[in-house]
């Protein structure tokens, strides 16, 4: 009996604590959905949770009763009746779970098919986005607008966008908990999914499949804008970046062209080996997880694979560390130039 109570206490305390801390980061949590997909998924989670809590309650009640009622008392040495079974009871606890599972199966299958719908069938002319996963960053392409960018995925709010997912190296998994569940990005194969944000906002995305040393830091953002804002973003992206005005930034541009252009494009429509840096000054983060400021840019350029940056990201296909190629001063200039790459 002690055990049953303790267990329930633990459960109550933890549930209470969960309520007290809320449902987690509102930009990240699947418990606080901001997309229609995540809404459906949470509904199903809650339905199954209630059914399962009901099942648990039945088990716990019988369990607690049995432990109290039938525990051995001091001096009691009787031999209990040796019961073989009880067909009626056994049928009951076979049939009831089957019924519960059927109740669950219907919305499950229905939703499985809804989530697999082609966005083009439900939305007129949906925005097409090709997302390509790399060890440890996300390339984003809008074929109809001829825009290539990285890390921040801009979408119009309130409509389904069509996403094609693939990978150029290992398997990754695309996950924006607040908007909808995961889909794997497999090399050699293309997966399709849709995503819809109910309201404008920035939503955090993660890689959910172990993909190497910096799997933990392969974050990205989905930025939902009102339709007109989104169109403005598209137009801005295609504007060339303003020429740098300060001397050091101009020198930075020169250094960038000599050292970085081989891998990083800076104009909207061009794919490159590394992330396209057009509009990097306006990105939410550096490398997906650091605040977007000059200090972090320098940190990144100096040694991207440092222990506190992204370990393993300087591999054969990755970005080399520039601390032995450029001086600190030069790195600072490059960072300054990058900060001028704005689309505003």
């Amino acid at each position: 009996m002690k055990k049953g109570n303790l267990w329930r206490l633990l459960f109550l305390v933890s549930t209470l604590a969960l309520v007290l801390t809320g449902c987690g980061d509102p930009e990240l949590s699947a418990l606080d959905p901001k997309g229609t997909g995540a809404d459906m998924q949470l509904d199903l989670i809650m339905l199954s949770l209630y059914i399962m809590l009901g099942v648990m309650a039945v088990v716990i009640v019988i369990f607690t009763y049995v432990l109290i009622r039938y525990r051995q008392r001091p001096g009691d040495n009787h031999i209990p009746k040796q019961v073989e079974g009880n067909t009626k009871l056994e049928i009951i606890w076979t049939v009831i779970p089957i019924i519960l599972l059927i109740i669950l199966a219907v919305p499950t299958v229905y939703q499985t098919f809804v989530l697999a719908e082609d966005a083009a069938e439900t939305t007129e002319d949906p925005v097409e986005i090709k997302v390509t996963a790399h060890q440890y960053w996300w390339e984003v392409e809008y074929p109809e607008y001829e825009i290539v960018t990285a890390q921040d995925i801009y979408i119009p709010a309130g409509e389904r966008v069509h996403i094609e997912l693939t990978s150029v190296d290992v398997i990754h998994s695309f996950w924006v908990p607040a908007l909808g569940g995961k889909m794997d990005a497999n090399p050699g194969l293309v997966n399709e999914m849709w995503l819809e944000a109910k309201q404008p906002g920035t939503y955090k995305g993660k890689c959910a499949e172990l993909c190497g040393a910096s799997h933990a830091k392969m974050d990205f953002k989905v930025v939902a804008l009102e339709r007109d804002q989104f169109e403005k973003w598209v137009a801005d992206m295609k504007e060339p970046a303003p020429e740098p005005t300060t001397v050091s930034a101009q020198e930075g541009k020169q250094l960038f062209e000599n050292n970085c252009m081989a891998c990083h494009a800076t104009d909207a429509g061009q794919k490159s080996l590394g992330p396209n840096l057009n509009g990097i000054a306006d990105r939410k983060t550096i490398a997906g997880f650091m605040d977007n400021d000059k200090e972090n840019l320098e940190k990144w350029i100096t040694d991207p694979a440092a222990r506190d940056v992204k370990p393993g990201s300087s591999g054969p296909k990755g970005m080399p560390a520039f601390h032995d190629k450029l001086t600190e001063e030069e790195i600072s200039k490059v960072a300054e130039y990058l900060q001028t790459l704005t689309i505003e």
């Binding site: 055990k3 267990w7 633990l10 459960f11 801390t21 449902c23 987690g24 990240l28 949590s29 418990l31 459906m40 998924q41 199903l44 199954s48 099942v55 648990m56 088990v59 049995v66 432990l67 039938y70 051995q72 031999i79 209990p80 009746k81 040796q82 019961v83 073989e84 079974g85 056994e90 779970p97 599972l101 669950l104 199966a105 499950t108 299958v109 499985t112 098919f113 697999a116 290992v170 398997i171 996950w175 908990p177 607040a178 569940g181 995961k182 794997d184 497999n186 090399p187 050699g188 194969l189 959910a208 172990l210 993909c211 190497g212 040393a213 910096s214 799997h215 933990a216 506190d308 393993g312």
Partner: protein, 614 residues
């Protein structure tokens, strides 16, 4: 047969004795010690990971190091700790439960152990090599596991699992034949103790589930070592094939671990409720049904792969169906206790603690089986919480229950009950503290296998709590270790039947003589020993007159054979042909020697047999 190899070699030194033993009781002890060793290693790896995740943006183990820890933790716990510990209990109990003098293939039994042991050692040696341990997760998905992305650690993973997998397959065949052919007279299938039943079923699962893993590992090995292109998409390969093969094996594997635990509970709960198992027939039926279904559900590990809504729906429905037989089992246990006289021994505490813990893991399993919901759960901490609830709360609790229950039979001493209960409570509390919060962490957006998380994403509190829970489990393990050491130093001598047991193993001395049963017992029904006790008998009724007992000879060949393949593995990993040839030569030469030299065994004469033990 002649007695020219009489047991003069009985009193040799203990190391040689264990290296050459073909006695299932000693092999059980080998499995127990090897399994416990790797359990400790895997546990330390877990605690190191939890320390890294205790606070956000921690700097203890980052990147590759952390990935090595998580890979080795998973691989070690599943293949090198849980599997051998299950085999330890099977070896210790099954021949005794069915009234047999030995297993069907004593030699292969030993070979199975040594293959496992060398495989496990091989994989763990990778820590000390320049290439480091594998860093690919215990699932080793291609292409991450290909040489383009990871070093020799992955080779150690592939070859280590190949070796230990062969050992497991041999063990599975051995137990199937043992249970089919070696049962005592009257021990029909429907009179077998439930632990024997579940072991029988999981041996069949091993038989059919390990070959896909073998093939998968071969493909991976060919890709890694010989330039094949199974998973290389630039050459037309397909990375999903590995996932299919791995999970066709992987899902039955989960049941291979949990069903014996179910078997243990089905022994422990009736024994300490003083009642026969409620619904024996439906328990057997549920076990076989779970086994059957386990081959048709593997895609629920792959819902996010993009196989389409049809495949996802079919496998979702098949998966949820497993909840029905599992539910039958839980209610049968509850109703075994109903009307009984429940004793709170340590063994039974584990069984009782298991019921709520496992039900929690089971219901989250059903939730995971729903593809739309799984799109959120998959590869998040929710899954981590789920499988630790079933594997720790189910398998490990079952192993501890079995260990406290059968320890006196294995070693002839009783573990200390007070320390045992402390061990249980610390483990129980630590376990829930560590893993309950992980459900929420997953839903709050924390993917699994991440070495860190950022500040300000509200993941800090529960990660901290989880780590404290893991540390408490660490303390519990220390208590257990103290208990074992104390028991070896001055343990209480165990009687033949310390728990007022119901099955045949309690009718013979603790520990049993090497031939187990002086005379093969005659089995009259379920719970054969209990029936005799109820009829006022102190011993089983014998089924045969007293006679000489034939025993198999010990042999060093299994050890040498496994050693040969172990050596060859290094040759494969580092591409050194002479080492491959020497290793394979030793291995195949030992096989040839085994084929050419017949084992005549030896006899134990009636005058050497002990008093007790029909």
């Amino acid at each position: 047969m002649s007695t020219h190899v009489s047991h003069a070699h009985k009193k040799k030194n203990i190391l040689w004795d264990y290296l050459t033993t073909v006695d299932h009781k000693k092999i059980a002890i080998l499995y127990l010690f090897a399994g416990t060793l790797f359990l400790l290693i895997g546990g330390i790896e877990a605690i190191l990971m939890r320390l890294q995740l205790m606070v956000p943006e921690n700097d203890l183990f980052v990147g590759t190091t952390f990935n090595q820890l998580l890979t080795m933790h998973g691989t070690t716990m599943i293949f090198f700790a849980a599997m051998p510990l299950v085999f330890a209990l099977m070896n210790a109990a099954i021949p005794l439960q069915i009234g047999a003098r030995d297993v069907a293939f004593p030699f292969l039994n030993s070979l199975g152990f040594w293959l496992f042991f060398f495989g496990a050692t091989l994989t763990n040696i990778s820590w000390f090599t320049s290439g480091g341990a594998p860093e690919i997760g215990w699932t080793a998905y291609a292409p991450l596991a290909l040489p383009e992305y990871t070093g020799t650690g992955s080779d150690y993973y592939v070859l280590g699992l190949q070796l230990s997998g062969a050992g497991t397959l041999i063990g599975g065949i051995n137990f199937l034949v043992t249970i089919i052919n070696m049962r005592a007279p009257g021990m029909t299938f429907m009179r077998m103790p439930l632990f024997t039943w579940t072991s029988f079923v999981i041996s069949a699962l091993i038989l059919f589930a390990f070959p896909p893993l073998t093939v998968g590992l071969f493909l991976m090995m060919f890709d890694r070592l010989f330039g094949a292109n199974f998973f290389d998409v630039t050459m037309g390969g397909n990375v999903i094939i590995w996932e299919h093969l791995f999970w066709i094996f992987g899902h039955p594997e989960v049941y291979i671990l949990i069903l014996p635990a179910f078997g243990v509970f089905s022994e422990v709960i009736p024994t300490f409720s003083k009642k026969r198992l409620f619904g024996y027939h439906s328990m057997v039926f549920a076990t076989t049904l779970i086994a059957f279904l386990s081959f048709m559900v593997w895609v629920h590990h792959m819902f996010t792969v993009g196989l389409g809504p049809v495949a996802n729906s079919i496998f979702a429905v098949a998966t949820t169906a497993i909840a029905v037989p599992t539910g039958i089992k839980v209610f049968n246990w509850l109703f075994t206790m109903w009307g009984g006289r429940i004793q709170f021994t340590t063994a039974n505490m584990w069984a009782l603690g298991f019921i709520p813990s496992f039900v929690m893991g089971g219901v989250t399993g059903v939730m995971l089986a729903l593809p739309p919901a799984d799109f959120q759960f998959h590869d998040s901490y929710f899954v981590v919480a789920h499988f630790h609830y079933v594997i720790l709360g189910g398998v490990v609790f079952g192993l501890f229950a079995g260990l406290y229950y059968w320890w006196p039979k294995m070693f002839g001493t009783l573990l200390n009950e007070k320390l045992g209960k402390l061990h249980f409570w610390l483990m129980f509390i630590g376990f829930h503290m560590a893993f309950l919060p992980q459900h929420w962490l997953g839903l709050m957006g924390m993917p699994r296998r991440v070495y860190t998380y950022l500040e300000g994403q509200q993941l800090d509190t529960w990660n901290y709590v989880s780590t404290i829970g893991a540390l408490i489990m660490g303390v519990a393990t220390i208590v257990f270790a103290i208990n074992i050491v104390m028991t070896f130093v001055k343990g209480e001598k165990a009687p033949a039947d310390p728990w007022d047991g119901r099955t045949l193993e309690w009718s013979i001395p603790s520990p049993p003589p090497e031939y187990n049963f002086k005379q093969t017992p005659l089995v009259k029904g379920i719970d054969a020993f209990w029936i005799e006790k109820m009829q006022g008998n102190k011993e089983m009724t014998p089924a045969e007159p007293l006679g000489d007992i034939h025993m198999p000879s010990p042999s060093i060949l299994p050890f040498i054979m496994s050693l040969g393949f172990f050596i060859a593995s290094f040759g494969f990993i580092y591409h050194v042909l002479p080492v491959i040839i020497i290793g394979m030569g030793i291995g195949l030469g030992s096989m040839l020697a085994r084929s050419l030299k017949d084992d005549l065994g030896y006899h134990i004469h009636t005058d050497e047999l002990q008093e007790k033990g029909v």
